[in-house]
């Protein structure tokens, strides 16, 4: 689950940077540098290699709609697997224990299976190139334009923040120059995405996916060896933190005050599991674009389901290192606000554990995994921006009838211009660090209401264009208003999150829930008062008016619904094991 508002505290990095820390957190050997340089050469090489195969708009923006379920599924997951998120959740695991795994399990798996089995057929069969494109077909240009403009601005700003965060991280961890890191990484991403379009982004995301796994996997393996396995780790944690529960998923969620996260099970189940996760995984174009590149409907349905199995495993390389740090590190990490010289905050867990277990070469692989995570996120944002700009804004509102080659050219130019705007955003953030918190919250304002709009549009034929645009606007506005209100008056947190014991994580969950409910309510009310589209115009767009391909001739093992059920069963088993 990519909750962008919960990532590594960038203020932590900025403070360390400004404090002129005398030594980098990690000492890099020349062989590590060789490994990092090889990675950059490889991603550029893939981009130039794929350029010759990228001829049409369908190639550039949808990777020729020819990806297998495995490729689309891994790219789908990789676009979400940013380094800030990996480091942030490893830190959260140190702070909150295994509760952090909720963001990978209930905060992702049901939504990914739902996307595959229920929503993907509509996205795919209507042959849209984007989520705003679907809104244009289902409703009108106003709804689509609102969604496209929000997405374009958010993706490009997020890309800039990621860029700055990566440069800052490399500066703090390795002592590298911030400006050099920003320019080199962004130009490399810009070149390979502009050259090969979504082909290139997807190919590199798959490579990056494997690098992230093989770069980070040694930490939990060696950590478990050191801790004496899972039981040994639990015993160590209990001995070092008596009376605190870091190793149960649901036991402490009966009340806001009985768990370190300050949240209740309703916030996790309804806010995270039913709204935030569905909003992100089913409507965020950054990830959905990868599945639209699948070669047929069955493949498009299978891709998110395949990804869900890998998503279930990610706590092994993210949450487990945080728990291992609780059990084996000889010193305590502290909250960001309490860091003194010689101390590290929770957010340093992953680099510290990499440094603990990885020598020369392996450390380079681990750092390459972090860089790969950043670059896959940047490339995802950049390719999504190029598509939304070219098709949902430029073609819809500025130039409707140009040749296909013109739109490909526009896609390449908008990629490079998008990268330059991202660099500008990175420097803006460098000057005004607090902007980052707001940019990271932007997606949360948008995703949950958008899910309300899309799901009503797909499932309820009575939803009208006016209902959609007003519902979406109301949902986004209410989310922004709640966010600002809590910033101005922190006491409002208790009102929105329904408890005086609620903490900031609970605010995110309940804000998403309320904004979704507001969106759905307004959409329904306005739709009932306005004229719906004729049923004949809803073919391939709405449930009941869409002919879904039969899978009756397929063996059970080739049916998406079978693997979706297996994924959900595995998800339930994990909840029981770590209850």
């Amino acid at each position: 689950m990519n909750v962008r508002q919960w990532t590594v505290s960038l203020a932590w990095l900025a403070n360390l940077s400004r404090a002129g820390r005398s030594r980098a957190v990690l000492a890099v050997h020349p062989v590590d540098l060789i490994i990092i340089v090889i990675y950059f050469v490889m991603v550029l090489g893939i981009g130039f290699y794929l350029k010759r195969y990228t001829k049409s708009g369908e190639d550039f923006f949808l990777a020729g709609r020819g990806m297998t379920a495995w490729v689309a599924g891994l790219a789908f997951l990789s676009a979400n697997l940013g380094s800030l998120e990996l480091m942030g959740w490893a830190g959260a695991s140190y702070e909150y224990g295994i509760l952090a795994a909720h963001w990978y399990w209930i905060g992702a798996i049901p939504a990914m299976v739902f996307l595959g089995l229920v929503m993907m057929p509509f996205y795919y069969i209507c042959k849209t190139h984007s989520v705003p494109g679907y809104l244009n077909l289902r409703f009108d240009r106003a709804t689509s334009g609102l969604a496209a403009t929000c997405l374009a601005v958010i993706t490009i700003l997020t890309s800039g923040v990621n860029m700055f965060a990566m440069a800052l991280l490399l500066h703090v961890l390795l002592g590298w120059n911030i400006n050099v890191s920003i320019w080199i990484s962004s130009i490399v991403v810009g070149i390979y995405v502009a050259a090969g379009g979504l082909f290139s982004a997807i190919f590199n995301e798959v490579v990056q996916f494997f690098l992230i796994w093989f770069g980070a996997l040694l930490v939990p393996i060696l950590g478990l060896v050191e801790a004496g396995g899972w039981n040994g780790l639990v015993a160590r944690i209990q001995a070092r933190f008596p009376g605190q529960d870091y190793t149960h998923l649901w036991k402490g969620l009966g009340h806001f005050s009985t768990n370190p996260m300050g949240i209740q099970w309703t916030g996790i189940v309804f806010g995270l599991g039913m709204v935030l996760s569905f909003g992100y995984w089913t409507t965020d174009f950054l990830v959905v674009q990868r599945v639209l590149a699948a070669r047929d409907v069955r493949t498009a349905k299978m891709a998110p389901i395949i990804a869900s199995f890998f998503k279930m495993a990610i706590p092994f390389i993210v949450v487990l290192p945080g728990l291992l740090a609780l059990g084996v590190l000889p010193f305590r990490l502290v909250p960001q606000s309490a860091v003194h010289p010689g101390q590290y905050s929770y957010n340093a867990v992953l680099p510290l554990m990499l440094g603990r277990y990885c020598g020369p070469g392996l450390l380079g692989l681990g750092v390459t995994a972090l860089i790969a995570g950043f670059m896959s996120g940047m490339a995802g944002n950049t390719s999504a921006f190029a598509t939304v700009w070219t098709y949902d804004i430029y073609r819809s509102f500025l130039r409707k009838d140009a040749a296909d080659s013109h739109y490909v050219s526009m896609g390449r130019w908008s990629t490079m211009i998008g990268v330059l705007i991202s660099i500008g955003a990175a420097y803006l953030v460098m000057q005004f660090a607090s902007i980052m918190d707001y940019v990271q919250a932007l997606f949360s304002f948008f995703d949950s209401p958008l899910f309300g709009t899309v799901i009503l549009g797909m499932m309820w034929k009575r939803t009208t264009p006016k209902g959609a645009v007003w519902g979406l606007a109301a949902g986004v506005t209410s989310s922004v208003a709640m966010f600002v209100w809590v910033k101005l008056d922190p006491h409002m947190l208790a009102v929105f999150a329904l408890s005086p014991h609620a903490k900031i994580m609970a605010e995110n969950m309940y804000r998403a829930l309320w904004s979704w409910l507001i969106c759905v309510t307004v959409t329904v009310l306005v739709s009932l008062a306005t004229k719906p589209r004729a049923e004949g115009e809803l073919t391939s767009l709405v449930y009941g008016f869409t002919e879904l391909p039969s899978e009756g001739h397929l063996s059970i093992f080739r049916r998406p619904i079978f693997w979706g059920a297996v994924a959900l069963a595995a998800f339930v088993v994990l909840q029981v094991i770590f209850w």
């Binding site: 490889m42 195969y53 020729g64 190139h129 060896v225 047929d296 603990r356 070469g361 009838d401």
Partner: protein, 95 residues
């Protein structure tokens, strides 16, 4: 994509694809599958890390807690095996 091809109005099915993972051709040459690139980079990294591991057998790094387990040695070997499997299988598929 032609501007008119957006959406169902176009009426055409998605393009038929000749082979999994390889969607495009250029100058008669079929695109290499992504697994080939994964295989190559793993092979290269595996060789480098294995070489480091071999050099560390008699000279383990003092700062690394798990040096006695020789992780570079077996992790480098694993990367080589995984990389070779990916590269060879993807070349065969292409052929």
């Amino acid at each position: 994509m032609n501007p008119k091809s957006e959406g169902r109005k176009d009426g055409e099915n998605p393009p038929k694809i000749a082979a999994p993972e390889t969607v495009g051709t250029a100058g008669g040459r079929q695109m290499l599958p992504v697994w080939f690139f994964v295989g190559i980079i793993f092979l290269v990294y595996g060789v480098i890390i294995l070489a480091v591991g071999i050099s560390e057998i008699h000279n383990p790094p003092h700062t690394v807690l798990a040096a006695q387990l020789h992780p570079s040695l077996w992790w480098g070997g694993l990367l080589i095996v995984v990389g070779a499997v990916f590269a060879v299988r993807s070349r065969r598929k292409r052929g």
